[in-house]
């Protein structure tokens, strides 16, 4: 047996390092195809530079197989601790049990419950709900009592994050007192161009909808491209349930409370990265023990709309 | 000897000015000296034949002259071109036109486009985006008519033509290009006597226009009918250059194979009294065959003669499962059979040696051993696993028996055309079928090996098998077969016994053209 034990590692893989500059942290990112994930990398590299530890960063193209190979390579290279953004909540159970038996694993964004040391997650349900509430408010201000909507979802492999964001947003609408009817749902693969195409088609089929919801900002931005400047869609609004991507925030700010990009949720890549790396370094340097951490902790969840946009919009941020 | 040859040329040959001059040309392939120091000159307005056994280096010389290959040593100078021709583009500039032994036809192009392949542009426009020529013009049709392909449509796909037609199609290019040297590498190998007349006409025209013509053929009567001088190659060396007027077929044969050829007697058909025919064909339709009936008896070698396109190959293909019959019955040893694929036919003991070596004769990535054992492999295997030793030893025997120039591990595609043909013939005869159809079996095979193959065919027949030989060479059928059927326009229009008085080449050709003999 290559991994004889199934109990999580009780200390850093290569013993406790006294000096931060000796620490090697492996960061196994899920993918880089969306700005959110890319921003996490930029942020982590900055932190590593500041604090002086060595960062091994790899992204897995949303494929558990590649991620497994990359994590193994990191361990071979002498990583002390791992930060993992899992590619599959359910599908990596045994894999992560094996990996975590050799090295402390801190999850970021997506975790595999029951394995690893701890997780720093975005609370997608809450983020979505906060955004939903803001959207409901804007429609009420417009005098609407109910809306028709279409949704841009993630790909079929999106087992966890997307469904939570979606559910959260819908909960938020209800909480805001706005009944809704979903006319269509199509995948936009979390990408702007795919989102735009899916939005185009859904609008052609349902020209009378009030809202296009994107489960992330990239897709919502694509949808915004469709409705922007077209007379026939002048009553169609756009919202995202999460991310807080710079371009989206810019639109919210620019449009103000008359704008057509209603709201999004804050899913800050930098906050999460900061927290996960701190935990990792603490464990590696012996400042904390794996058993000190709760299985999960959440990053701040807020909705961003026209009223609180100024707090969050920073034209110079990477994301 | 070289000196003698020079003398000879200075005395007799200069019908025109020098067209090309090869000096000390060698061409080595890994392990093979295809050409080993050849000096040869060609003159304008003259037809030079190159003769030699299979693998002697004839095609190699032609390819060097046309710039398809570059010599290992020595060079060939084409008059009016200051450096040796190195590729096809330069060959065109130098005015060298070559008809390859395997005609280079583009299957996905129409007949007309293939005629104009070497001259895609209209006029002198050299821009790549220049308009292409009209390939369906009246001129194209005339050109085709001149090479006996007048019945083809210019816009029909060239991929559907038989080998004979492909040869003639490639020949038609001569009419639309300007050239000073024209090479015909076995252009007549799968064409019948009638087409040879077309070729003769064309050569006469070219000759008059001052072209230097090189003619390669294993049919010596053609060589003597057409050529002014004959160069004989043996094992890559130039043996001698003779004026046609000063020599005869026997001398050339002797020079080619290093010994005189013994005459070969055809054994009588095995007399199996009252045996039922191996194969009986009744009212067969398919391809260009229109209602053909005949029998082949055990031990009998039946010949099938006709012009290109008369339907011989269609008959051959239909009775061997290569192509489905539209109508008609085929009876094998008294049992009616439905042949839906060559595999089925093979199971019934029927084999077909294709006339189209290029397309379906051999597997290009296989070596000689693999190609020869392709058909009989299941017999050399136990439980699907090939018995390597048995295969190897049998292959070695076959290579000797068929005089293939090359070893079991030589790739068949690297052999000379005639040697490839031997491999294909060996493959089928080794399968030991009850009834074998040989479509142009000696295509491209030299006189020496030819006799050998005739013997092997005789042996097959002597064992009580049936043999049907399709050939474009009347002479071959007359010396090989016990009975000859002549086809015209898809029908059998005559039956001959070679031993009868008055059965000769002329009679066969006349019948094939428009018989005044009794029709059936």
């Amino acid at each position: 047996q290559i991994y004889p034990s199934s109990t999580p590692a009780q200390g850093p893989a290569n013993g406790i390092k006294s000096d931060v500059s000796d620490v090697v942290v492996g960061f196994a990112q899920q993918q880089l195809q969306a700005p959110y994930f890319a921003a996490m990398q930029v942020q982590s590299e900055q932190i590593a530079k500041e604090q002086g530890f060595k960062l091994l960063f790899q992204a897995a193209n949303k494929d558990p197989v590649i991620q497994m190979n990359q994590m193994q390579a990191m361990i071979s290279q002498g990583a002390d601790v791992l930060v993992v953004n899992a590619t599959s909540v359910k599908g990596q159970k045994e894999m992560m049990t094996q990996i975590a038996s050799q090295i402390p694993v801190t999850y970021i964004d997506t975790s595999v419950p029951g394995t690893g040391m701890t997780s720093v997650q975005s609370d997608n349900l809450t983020i979505g709900r906060e955004s939903g509430i803001l959207t409901a408010k804007r429609f009420k201000d417009l005098g609407k009592t109910s809306i028709k909507m279409v949704i841009l979802t993630g790909p079929a492999t999106d087992e966890f994050v997307g469904p939570n964001r979606r559910q959260g947003f819908l909960d938020g609408l209800e909480e805001g007192g706005l009944p809704y009817e979903i006319k269509a749902e199509q995948s936009g693969d979390y990408a702007q161009d795919k989102g735009q195409v899916a939005a185009e088609t859904m609008l052609a089929g349902n020209p009378d909808v009030d809202l296009i919801l994107g489960l992330n900002d990239s897709m919502a931005l694509g949808a915004y491209n469709v409705v922007n400047g077209k007379d026939q869609y002048k009553n169609v609004y756009v919202a995202a349930s999460a991310d807080g991507q710079k371009e989206a925030l810019a639109l919210i700010k620019q449009g103000g409370c008359e704008g057509r990009y209603l709201s999004t949720g804050l899913n800050s890549p930098s906050l999460a990265a900061e927290q996960a790396l701190k935990i990792s370094v603490d464990v590696a340097t012996g400042k904390a023990k794996p058993s000190d951490f709760k299985p999960e902790s959440f990053t701040k969840a807020v909705g961003i709309g026209c009223e609180n946009i100024d707090e969050y919009y920073d034209p110079n941020s990477v994301f | 000897m070289v000196a003698v040859e020079r003398e000879d040329e200075q005395a007799g040959a200069p019908a025109g000015e020098l067209a090309f001059k090869a000096v000390g040309v060698k061409k080595h392939y890994p392990g093979v000296k295809a050409l080993d120091g050849v000096d040869l000159e060609g003159y304008r307005g003259e037809v030079l034949a190159i003769c030699g056994a299979n693998g002697a280096g004839k095609s190699t010389f032609a390819k060097l002259l046309a710039g398809v290959e570059t010599p290992t040593e020595g060079e060939i100078k084409v008059t009016g071109f200051d450096h040796p021709v190195r590729n096809a583009a330069e060959a065109e500039q130098a005015g060298v036109l070559m008809m390859h032994q395997e005609p280079l036809i583009i299957d996905d192009f129409t007949v007309g486009e293939n005629v104009w392949l070497y001259k895609l542009r209209s006029g002198k426009d050299i821009r790549p985006w220049a308009q292409k020529v009209d390939t369906n013009s009246q001129e194209t049709r005339e050109v085709l008519r001149d090479v006996g392909l007048g019945h083809l449509r210019t816009n029909q796909l060239a991929g559907d033509l038989g080998p004979g037609q492909r040869q003639m199609l490639s020949l038609s290019r001569a009419a639309v290009t300007h050239h000073k040297i024209m090479i015909l590498d076995e252009t007549t190998a799968s064409t019948s006597e009638e087409h040879f007349k077309d070729i003769l006409d064309l050569v006469a025209r070219e000759k008059a226009a001052g072209t230097s013509i090189i003619f390669v053929s294993h049919r010596l009567n053609e060589v003597f009918a057409m050529c002014d001088r004959i160069a004989v190659l043996r094992n890559g060396k130039l043996i001698e250059v003779l004026r046609t007027a000063d020599t005869d077929q026997d001398e050339i044969t002797t020079l080619m194979i290093g010994q005189a050829l013994k005459a070969l007697d055809r054994p009588d058909a095995v007399d199996v009294v009252d045996a039922e025919p191996v194969v009986a064909v009744r009212n067969l339709w398919g391809g260009t065959a229109k209602g053909v009936s005949f029998d082949v008896n055990p031990g009998e070698i039946v010949g099938l003669y006709g012009l290109v396109g008369s339907g011989r190959s269609s008959v051959a293909r239909t009775i061997t499962g290569q192509k489905r019959a539209v109508e008609g019955t085929i009876t094998v040893r008294g049992q009616e059979v439905v042949l839906d694929s060559p595999g089925t036919a093979l199971k019934k003991g029927i084999a077909y040696l294709t006339e189209d070596r290029r397309l379906e004769g051999f597997v290009k990535d296989f070596d000689n051993g693999e190609n020869m054992s392709l058909v009989v492999l299941p017999k050399m295997a136990r439980g699907g696993v090939v018995d390597g030793k048995r295969e190897k030893s049998r292959i070695r025997e076959l290579i000797k028996e068929f005089q293939v120039k090359g070893g079991p591990k030589t790739y068949t595609s690297s052999l000379s055309g005639g040697n490839q043909q031997k491999v294909v013939v060996a493959k089928w005869l080794e399968a030991d079928p009850d009834f074998v159809v040989l479509d142009e079996p000696t295509k491209g095979i030299d006189v020496g090996a030819r006799a050998n193959i005739y013997q092997i065919i005789h042996r097959v027949a002597a064992r009580g098998k049936g043999v049907l030989v399709v050939s474009s060479e009347a002479e071959e059928l007359l010396s090989l077969c016990h009975r000859i059927l002549v086809m015209r326009n898809g029908k059998i229009v005559g039956e001959f016994n070679p031993d009868d008085e008055g059965t000769d080449t002329d009679a066969l050709i006349r019948t094939a053209l428009h018989s005044d003999e009794a029709e059936q």
């Binding site: 880089l32 700005p35 890319a38 979802t153 790909p155 079929a156 269509a184 749902e185 199509q186 693969d189 702007q192 161009d193 735009q196 185009e200 088609t201 859904m202 052609a204 089929g205 990239s218 491209n225 400047g229 077209k230 371009e247 990477v318 | 046309a66 590729n87 096809a88 583009a89 065109e92 280079l104 036809i105 583009i106 299957d107 996905d108 192009f109 129409t110 007309g112 486009e113 070497y118 895609l120 542009r121 821009r127 790549p128 985006w129 308009q131 292409k132 009209d134 390939t135 019945h151 449509r153 816009n155 029909q156 796909l157 991929g159 559907d160 396109g309 290569q322 489905r324 060559p342 189209d356």
Partner: protein, 342 residues
Amino acid sequence: MTATATAPTSSPDQAEENRGSAVVDWLKSQYALYILVALLLVATITRGSVFWSGTNITNLLLQMSIIGVVVMAELIVVLTGGIDISVGSALGLAAVVAAGLFGGPSVLLALVVAIVIGGIVGAVNGWLVAFRGLEPFIVTLGMLALARGLVYAYGNGIPINPEAAPSFARLGQSTFIGIPVLAIIWLAVVALIAFLLYRTVWGRRVYAIGSNINAARSSGIPVKGTLWSVYILAGLLVGLGGWIFLARFASGTSTAGNLLELEAIAAVVIGGARLSGGYGKVFGAVVGTIIFAVIANLLSLLNVSTFLQDAFRGALILVAVTVATVQFSRRRKSDSTTPAAK
């Protein structure tokens, strides 16, 4: 004259009279067209009013304009017997660099940049294939990874929005006599390629090389040069496709063009081209483009669940090619000469 066109149905004997049968022959070989007609029928029956609405047709045209240009690039490569699986990545690279270089200040500059980038990619591919004699698949596989990697590296995975984004967006939505400008560009490219392939010496050479490279070579066709020019032209078209991408989405995303190669090859092949080269029609490739666009559009309009879309698409392709080719006999290894195959 789309000379090669006709399938060899009629026999040598029936001379050239029957023009009518030429049309019949043509129709017989247009199985891609039947698939399309069937699809359109299904679309009309299920969501006719929406499908044929002006908005949807406009959307369809826009959706086809990018892939349509790429399909033309793929077609000429496939005709030579090659394959180009780097088209998607190259398009992404062209789009991203055109969006980012000098800040992407102008639509025209971006056009030049995109085309140059595409041309460079094509030239490298073509050089390796034509002059080094490498397998096109492996060359363009390397390029697929290289170009995509450069896309990621150029923007660190973050989309690049050109300064001229609004002009791009405006261009992307503008129409000319009711037809989106981007679709007009696509159709112009189709016309150009059809002209080049059918009317020029270059086109003949491309077909000749794909069908029989030896015959092509011996007939004096500059095989290497022509091959190279094919890949370069393909690259230029892909670059143009990248620019159209920008015009349509006003942003150079790092996933731009992802998996486009598969769709492009599929469109070319379903349009009747032979992957081993020498046979294929512009018209067929256009029909192939439309087929895949309509399938995607229809599945979306029918609001088929994301989970089932792929399954439907796959089943549709399989059923379509199987049913439509009851008569289809032209095999990849053209065996028109072995009648046995029929």
